[in-house]
């Protein structure tokens, strides 16, 4: 690890100021991606701006038809939240399956979303639920937020403050782990909601772990589930392996098969 300055701002606007004052500064909340990178000397930020203790970034609330989760909320807090468990149990379950107990008590939803690791869990939930990412400067739909591997629509210096999840009628999540890291080799989040809050249709299917460009939706499955929200609705649908990751943990054709399998299970879990 190289030396860096450590800054603990007292508000989001202080944090934004600190970011603009420090070229090459990084935000840190849970640090579960950043700190290992620093330890391996793969990054050399001039300063770490620690936003993990900012009260305005913490907490979970139910707001009309949405669950609103502060960006610095830990995975364990999401997993244990009565509001989340009541409104979107699949989201609580997803959070409870991230990493291990230690990771879940440090890692944050904002950090995970901002990092947009193609094998992370949360991007599937955001895209699958049609969530919105709220920042200190504005608001993004999940569909436009995740722009590629480890990249998002965030501008330099922009800070995620919260994620708004519409409460669906049904949602389900199924994950097949990469066995070493236990990140997603393939995971699928499905959700259905009547009333059309989702921007495109009432059913969403989002896949993490598999796409060469990160999380993506499967339109064919979404259409099939509109008419038949059951595992058999997706069991015959094969996703093309053309744009899927192909590495030693899983070839593209295997990942494609797992997408179908996990979609069936996610629908099955949602139905249950």
């Amino acid at each position: 690890m190289y030396n860096f300055d450590y800054v603990r701002p007292s508000s989001v606007s202080d944090a934004a100021q600190a970011l603009s004052n420090n070229t090459d500064a990084s935000l840190v909340a849970g640090g579960h991606t950043l700190i290992p990178t620093l330890k391996q000397r793969l990054a050399q930020p001039s300063a770490l701006i620690d936003i993990s203790q900012l009260a305005e970034l913490k907490g979970i609330r139910s707001d009309g038809g949405n669950i609103v989760i502060g960006a610095a909320t830990t995975h364990a807090e999401v997993a244990g939240s009565a509001d989340v468990k009541a409104a979107i149990p699949a989201l609580a379950e997803l959070a409870n399956g991230i990493g291990d107990r230690q990771v879940r008590h440090r890692g944050t939803i904002g950090g995970s979303v901002a990092n947009n690791d193609p094998s992370a869990d949360y991007p599937a939930a955001l895209l699958g639920l049609g969530a919105s990412v709220v920042t200190n400067r504005g608001r993004y739909d999940a569909d436009s937020f995740f722009t590629g591997l480890f990249s998002t629509a965030l501008h330099p210096g922009e800070i995620i403050t919260a994620v708004h999840f519409p409460i669906p009628d049904k949602a389900g999540y199924a994950k097949f782990e990469q066995r070493a890291s236990r990140y997603c080799l393939v995971s699928v989040f499905v959700a259905q909601k009547s009333g059309g809050i989702f921007s495109s249709g009432e059913t969403r299917v989002a896949v993490s772990g598999a796409g060469q460009n990160g999380v993506f939706r499967v339109a064919e499955m979404e259409q099939a589930l509109q008419g038949n929200f059951s595992p058999s609705g997706v069991s015959g649908i094969k996703v093309s392996s053309a744009n899927l990751m192909n590495d030693m943990h899983g070839a593209a054709d295997y990942r494609a098969a797992l997408i179908t399998a996990m979609a069936e299970r996610a629908v099955g879990a949602a139905s249950a």
Binding site: M1, Q40, R41, F176, R179, A180, S181, N246, D247, M248, H249, G250, A251, A252, D253, Y254, A257, L258, A261
Partner: protein, 792 residues
């Protein structure tokens, strides 16, 4: 059996300090004026070194010294030695190229140490290392063993075809004849996947030189400090043994990887004299992946022949064994004398022949890893016999039973050199079948099928050779050291006992089990017994812990030393009790004149030995301290049967181990709780090899599985609660405790049991083999008959 003696399930005493964080590991040691060493390692697998410019690093803040291979060479230091010479079938010795402490001329694997940067702090050393300019001329990497032997690029000039040795054992003509005339021959190509040891504690070394006395001390994470003293002192640095202390305090796991003498140990010791300050190096986890010796990595072709009555009549096995870039300390003996000699297994096989070609590659050196040759041999045999059962249409357990060596055949001379002293294999098979409810398996298979799942059951009956080994035997086979063990029993004046043992505990629980032996023999409380190990300044010259030898060899030395103490005590007691020594009996901690109630407690005798006021001083020395060196008469041969049951999800290919049963004959047992724990740990490692672990190099020799993000270790939720039975068994006939050793059995027996279960589950698809590690993708691909596309 007493509450604390031999056979008692005493809780591990050492765990109190480990659990509380009070253990003292090498990295916990910090010496006054200590410096820190960072090794700059090769980023490529194979390259000629054109130039190394260290000038900027030398003047970086905090830097004390920067050394290259040229500096080490110029000092006259030797290379890292190999401790075992294997002779090829043409009579030539193995190729044994020099293994320099820091690379000279070429780098030969990713992680090969090139430059040592020593500074006031680790951060400064690491910062300075980034200023070193390594000018490397990259050469084609030798990665794949088969293509390595076809020539092209050579890892070492001394072995242009990358062949280290070409060894054979057994009767080739008889084996070929039996294969030619057999009623059935089962053939199989097997991969024994490369494993990375991953002890919980990474390696650490601190070198210290005392200019006043010219003494060196090496603090190191070792399983065998005297072996390190011998190798480093005599072969590398020319330090006389009386001037070199090697101390391995608490060590957090080894699994073989801490047997060997490593370059980093020699460098910090050597450098401590140059800079006249202690030099400390602590491996980080990433370094461990590319510098700790790896394990396994064999490719084998097996042919097993049966007569018309399904009796095994011959076994032939041809193996390529990866040595990596250099010969690690015991590397050559692993695929040869610890492998070929086990190919009889538990079976009467009249003819066996094996040929092993050892290959240099541009990869991390490969050496012993929990089981060391025996897991590879057991996998060959036990995978093949289950495949044979499938082909012959007979039950895999019954085919084994039919071919077992019978109890009345012991001692049993195998066709592959070794003589099993004792054994009885059916009770373990029966017990394992009972624990596994083998009889009702087909009902469970049908029930799983109704849920869309594939169930399979796999049997593996292993044998291993432990307690290495008779020195004259291993000497004849190429060992460059004896393999006895030493123990000193120091009875203190007040009757407490310090045992100084050459065995080394790095997780095995010696501080409990060895104390139990003392408590049992002397009739004293284990609280009055201290087990001292790991420090060459304290303990007698011993060979350390590996190959499940501690209780079989170290424990035997301890018993012999205790017997000497008891005998001397009889003479003292005879004097005090005014009787003849021949009339003194020792039992339950007291010396008694036979047939009387005249008695003296052990503590009284100890006190008298050190306060010899009333003492046979004319004929007996004062004091009560005895040393014994024990050289075993044979290996010991633990054996058992493991049965694994799996359930496979055909949609994803993922395997769940739903049941694992183990029945072992370890001979006599000192502490059944510790034995059970050893079986658990070994089985988990075996499951890891069978299902998950795999060191993967790309074609350029880059290690793709260099962290826990990519190298899969087995975890608690990957295994079920084990059913373990340790049988009364057949005690070893040639050591005083009748013990055989239990540390490696799980890692030896588990892999074939798991793979046999998986193949059994998949047989309805016409699948007759799956290579380790049997990952979900591999199984999915087999089920769907999908060849894998080349990964990126």
């Amino acid at each position: 059996m007493t509450a604390q003696g031999i056979g008692a399930a005493v809780k591990r005493r050492e765990d109190f300090r480990f659990i509380k964080g009070d253990g003292k590991y090498t990295d916990d040691i910090n010496l006054p004026n200590q410096t820190y060493c960072y090794f700059l390692r090769s980023p490529v697998a194979h390259a000629a070194i054109r130039n190394i410019d260290i000038s900027a690093a030398q003047s970086a803040p905090g830097v004390v010294a920067v050394f290259t291979g040229a500096d080490v060479d110029a000092s006259g230091a030797g290379g890292v030695p190999c401790g075992w010479l294997v002779t090829s079938r043409d009579g030539n010795p193995m190729k044994e190229p020099k293994h320099p402490i820091l690379a000279v001329g070429k780098v030969r694997h990713v992680g090969d140490p090139v430059v040592a940067v020593i500074a006031e702090t680790l951060e400064q050393a690491r910062n300075a290392s980034e200023l070193v300019q390594m000018d490397l001329d990259e050469l084609p990497a030798v990665v794949n063993m088969k293509s390595a032997l076809q020539g092209g690029s050579s890892v070492h000039e001394e072995a242009a075809d990358n062949l280290c040795f070409d060894w054979e054992l057994g009767d080739q003509a008889a084996t070929d004849a039996a294969l030619a005339g057999a009623a059935h021959v089962t053939k199989l190509d097997l991969v024994n996947n490369r494993l990375i040891p991953n002890a919980m504690e990474p390696r650490v070394a601190i070198g210290q030189y005392a200019p006043g006395t010219e003494d060196y001390t090496l603090y190191t994470t070792s399983q065998n400090p005297h072996v390190i003293r011998l190798l480093m002192g005599a072969f590398v640095l020319s330090i006389p043994e009386h001037k070199l202390r090697v101390y391995a305090p608490d060590v957090g796991g080894g699994f073989g990887s801490k047997i060997y003498h490593y370059a980093e140990e020699a460098l910090v010791t050597w450098a401590s004299k140059h800079i006249r300050r202690p030099v400390k190096w602590t491996s980080d986890r990433s370094e461990a992946f590319m510098s700790d010796a790896h394990g396994r990595d064999h490719l084998s072709h097996v042919e097993m022949a049966f007569d018309a009555d399904n009796r095994i009549i011959a076994l032939k096995c041809e193996t390529l064994a990866n040595m990596g870039a250099y010969l690690s300390t015991f590397a050559p003996c692993i695929p040869t004398w610890l492998h070929g000699t086990l190919l009889a297994g538990q079976y009467v096989t009249p003819a066996i022949y094996t040929n092993v070609k050892a290959v240099f590659t541009n990869t991390v050196p490969v050496d012993a890893y929990r089981g060391a040759g025996r897991p590879e041999a057991t996998y060959i045999l036990e995978r093949t016999i289950s495949k044979a059962a499938q082909e012959l249409g007979v039950d895999q357990a019954e085919l084994r039973r039919k071919n077992f060596i019978q109890p009345n055949q012991f001692p049993y001379q195998t066709p592959v050199a070794v003589v099993y002293d004792t054994g009885d294999y059916e009770p373990a098979l029966n017990k394992a079948m009972e624990l596994a409810d083998y009889a009702a398996f087909e009902q469970r298979r049908a029930e799983a099928k109704s849920r869309g799942k594939l169930r399979g059951i796999g049997v593996a009956s292993y044998i291993e050779a432990c307690g290495i080994a008779p020195s004259s035997l291993v000497g004849a086979l190429g060992a460059r050291a004896g393999l006895y063990e030493a123990a000193t029993v120091r009875v203190n004046p007040t009757g407490s006992v310090s045992v100084l043992t050459g065995s080394h505990s790095h997780g095995q629980g010696h501080e409990t089990t060895f104390a139990q032996v003392v408590a049992d023999k002397l009739g004293i409380d284990i609280g009055n017994v201290d087990i001292v190990h790991g420090d060459t300044d304290k303990i007698p010259f011993g060979m350390g812990t590996y190959g499940s030898r501690s209780i079989a060899v170290g424990g035997s030395a301890l018993v012999n030393a205790l017997d000497k103490v008891i005998e001397k005590g009889k003479k003292i007691a005879a004097h005090l009790l005014e009787a003849s020594a021949d009339d003194i009996e020792f039992a339950n901690g007291a010396y008694t004149v036979k047939g009387t109630d005249k008695s003296k407690a052990f503590g009284d005798i100890a006190l008298t030995a050190y306060v010899p006021h009333q003492y046979p001083i004319e004929t007996l020395e004062p004091g009560l301290e005895e040393t014994a060196f024990y050289d075993p008469k044979n290996f010991t041969y633990p054996a058992g049967t493991y049965i694994c049951e799996v359930e496979i999800d055909p949609q994803t290919g993922s395997t769940q181990i739903v049941s694992f049963s183990a029945a072992d004959d370890f001979g006599n047992v000192i502490n059944p709780m510790i034995v059970e724990g050893q079986v658990h740990g070994g089985v988990v490692q075996g499951v890891g090899q069978a299902l998950m672990e795999n060191a993967v190099y790309d074609d350029n020799g880059q290690l793709l599985t260099g962290s826990y993000m990519d190298y899969t270790m087995p975890r608690a939720d990957d295994v079920p609660s084990f059913k373990v039975a340790t049988l009364a068994g057949t005690p070893c006939t040639h050591n005083p405790l009748g013990v055989k050793g239990c540390g490696e059995a799980g890692a030896i027996g588990a892999p074939p049991a798991v793979i046999n279960a998986i193949v059994d589950a998949l047989k309805e698809y016409g699948i007759d083999h799956i290579d380790m590690p049997a990952t979900p993708e591999k199984i999915w691909r087999a089920i769907n008959a999908q060849p894998r596309m080349a990964a990126e």
